[in-house]
C-alpha cells in the first residue's frame, strides 16, 4: 500500500435488531467489506440523535452511515419512522452549511440481508474515498 493512499474512516450506527444482525450475517457468510467501517451498535435507529452524527465527524470520521430495520419492521414499531424524518432534516441542514452531502447516508438493512450490508458498505466506502478527507466538519483538536 502506498503511503498516500487515502483510507476513509467510516462510522456505521447499526440498530441491534436488524442491521447489526445483518452485519453479523455478512461476517458469517465471509462477505468482504472494508475494515475501515467501525460499527456502533444502538438499540434502535431512533436512538441516534443529530449530535451522535456530528460527534462521529468530530472524532475523525470521514463518513457516517445509519442503518436500521426497514420501515415498518422496527423492533419498537415506529422508531425508524422518526429517525427517517430527523436524518432527512439533519442531512439537509449539513448540505445547507456546505458540508458534502455524500458523507452521510441512511440505509435500511434487515437481519437477513448480509449481502446487502456488505454491498452498502463497499459502496459507501467507495463514495467517501472519492470525496477524500473530511475537512469541513473536522475538529483540529481531535487530530492526532
Amino acid at each position: 500500500m502506498s503511503m498516500n493512499e487515502f483510507k476513509p474512516k467510516i462510522v456505521a450506527f447499526c440498530c441491534n435488531w436488524c442491521s447489526y444482525a445483518g452485519a453479523d450475517l455478512a461476517g458469517t457468510n465471509r462477505l468482504n467489506y472494508p475494515a475501515d467501517v467501525k460499527i456502533i451498535r444502538v438499540p434502535c435507529s431512533c436512538r441516534v440523535n443529530p449530535l451522535f452524527i456530528l460527534r462521529a465527524f468530530q472524532r475523525g470520521a470521514d463518513g457516517v452511515i445509519l442503518c436500521g430495520c426497514h420501515p415498518g419492521d422496527c423492533h419498537y414499531t415506529t422508531g425508524n419512522y422518526y429517525a427517517r424524518r430527523r436524518m432527512t432534516l439533519l442531512f439537509s441542514m449539513l448540505d445547507y452549511l456546505g458540508i458534502e452531502k455524500e458523507r452521510t447516508r441512511v440505509e435500511w438493512v434487515s437481519a437477513a440481508e448480509g449481502a446487502k450490508f456488505a454491498t452498502v458498505m463497499n459502496d459507501f466506502v467507495k463514495t467517501v474515498t472519492e470525496l477524500g478527507e473530511n475537512k469541513r466538519l473536522e475538529d483540529l483538536r481531535c487530530k492526532k
Partner: protein
Amino acid sequence: MQEMMKKRAKELLASGEVTRVIGWKKNEFDYDITPAVFTSAEEIDRDFIYDDFCGVNLSKFTFQHQKNDTKTLVFLKPCDSYSMTQLITEHRVDRNALYIIGVPSYGKIDVEKIKADGVTGILSITSEGGDVHVHTLYGDKTYAKYEVTSERCLNCKSKMHPTYDELIGFEGEVMETERFDEVAKLEAMTPEERFEFWRGELSRCIRCNACRNACPACTCETCIFDNNDSGVAQKAAADSFEENMFHIIRAFHVAGRCTDCGECSRVCPQHIPLHLLNRKFISDINKFYGDYQAGAEIGQRAPLVNFTKEDVEPDIVAKGGKA
C-alpha cells in the same frame, strides 16, 4: 394603544382578576426596552410602555416568571402569541394561570439598522406615523419607518393572535411573506459558496448563548450547552467544528417548534442571521411533510414527533433535494 393597555391592566389588577402584569418597560434609552413584572397601579403608571421598540417576545419571560398559584396578565403581540401557543401545547406554561391580552404590532424598529447607518450618540428616538426621528449629540436625523424596521417585521408572517382572552385593536390575518427567499438564494449556491458564507457568519459567534436564552422554544431547565459532562459546554467556540455544532444543534432542537419569531437574530450581538438556519428547517418541513406553522393552534403535533409511512427517504438530500 399604550393608554388603553395601561387602563385594562389597572382594571384587572384592581378587580383582583390578576395579581401581576407582564409587560414592557423602558431602560436607560428609548430603544432599550426590557420585559417587566408589574404588581401595582403606581408601577404601571410610572413604567409601563408599549411602543415601536417593544420587540421583546414576552412569552419566554412569562415562562421564566410564571407562578401557578396566582393569575398573571400578559400582553402578547402576534408573534409572541404564536410562541405562547407553542409553549401551551408543550405544557410548559399553565394556560389557566394566564390572562392573555393580544395587542397589535405595526412593525418594530431595529436600532441596529440606525447604528449601522453611522449614527452615534443617540439621545432619543421617536416614532410618529411613518417617520422615525433620531435626536443625537451631533444633530438630528429622520428616517422613513420602513427603512429602520427590523427584518422580521418586514417579513411578518402573521398579524393574528392564535391565543388570547381579550384583544385590544382588530384581529389581523396571516400574511404573504418572502421570508424564505434568502434561504432559496443560499440553496441555489454551490456547496463551496455556502460553506464560505456560513464560515464567515458562524466564525463570529462568541458563544454568549443569548440566542438560546431569548428563544421561547428553548425551555429546557438544564441545557446541554450548560452541562459540563456533555463535552459541548465550552463557552468560547475554540474550533470551527464547535461553531457548526452549536448552531446545528441549537437550530435542530427547535426544528418543528420554532415559530420564526425572530428573537434569536434580534438578540445576537454579532448579527449572525440565525433566522436563516431556522427558516431552512421550516422550509424543509413545509416541502417534505406539508405546510406547518408552529404555534398556530393549541395541541398541534410537531413534525419531528410525527411521521407518515410515505415520508421521503433521507437520500432525497443527496439526490438534490426537492420533494
